[in-house]
């Protein structure tokens, strides 16, 4: 893993919902720092955590994490 970046749309989805990082973190029982790292693509969450995030944000895994086959990465 190391410096690998995992682009995703968690930040956009969170802002759409109007949550702060702390509120989202409390919803899915993780720390605010973990949410911050996921949004920056610097932490690769487990599938279990991805599912909790998707449920909390009302999105599918595709909408949050699918990178479109390597094109149009969103940060």
């Amino acid at each position: 893993m190391g410096d690998e970046v995992f682009p995703n749309r968690v930040r956009l989805a969170r802002l759409e919902k109007g949550y702060t990082q702390q509120e989202l973190a409390d919803l899915i029982s993780v720390t605010r720092q973990t949410i911050g790292l996921i949004e920056k693509g610097r932490y690769n969450p487990t599938l279990s955590l991805c599912l909790r995030l998707a449920r909390a944000l009302g999105k599918s895994l595709d909408e949050l994490f699918w990178d479109g086959g390597g094109e149009g990465h969103e940060r």
Binding site: S29, V30, T31, T34, L37, P45, L49
Partner: protein, 147 residues
Amino acid sequence: MKDERIQAVVHQSQAMGFSILYFGMLAIFLFRMVYLKQSVRDFGDFALVWLIAGLSPSLLTAMRGGLDTSQKPGRARWLAPMFSALVITGFQVYYNLAEGVGYSQAIGWISSLLTLAVSFVIALTLLTLNQRLLEFLQRRWERHNLE
């Protein structure tokens, strides 16, 4: 709260702490044996705990199905026991010289060559047995979890 990232960070830190403890104790043992001329019997209890602690990560890994079976041992199968045998023979040469057993006579060379050969065979046997044990534990985990 069970944050998986926090747990991973804690585990990594604990692993680092374990490495410091493991190699620190190894350094202390070597210091005691080489510099203070102590026998292993003088610190056998610590050495035993150190040995068990050193073996436990690989055993626990295999018992939990974490053994990487995709990699073949290759040259490591011979290099690791040869390295161990060279280190042991190095100690023996050191003690021989310290005890006044010179290498101008055949007995010095014969004893060192014997040490090299015997320690290589013992190290190779132990490593092979260890590998077989790990594979057995991994297969047992597979039977319980994948079949």
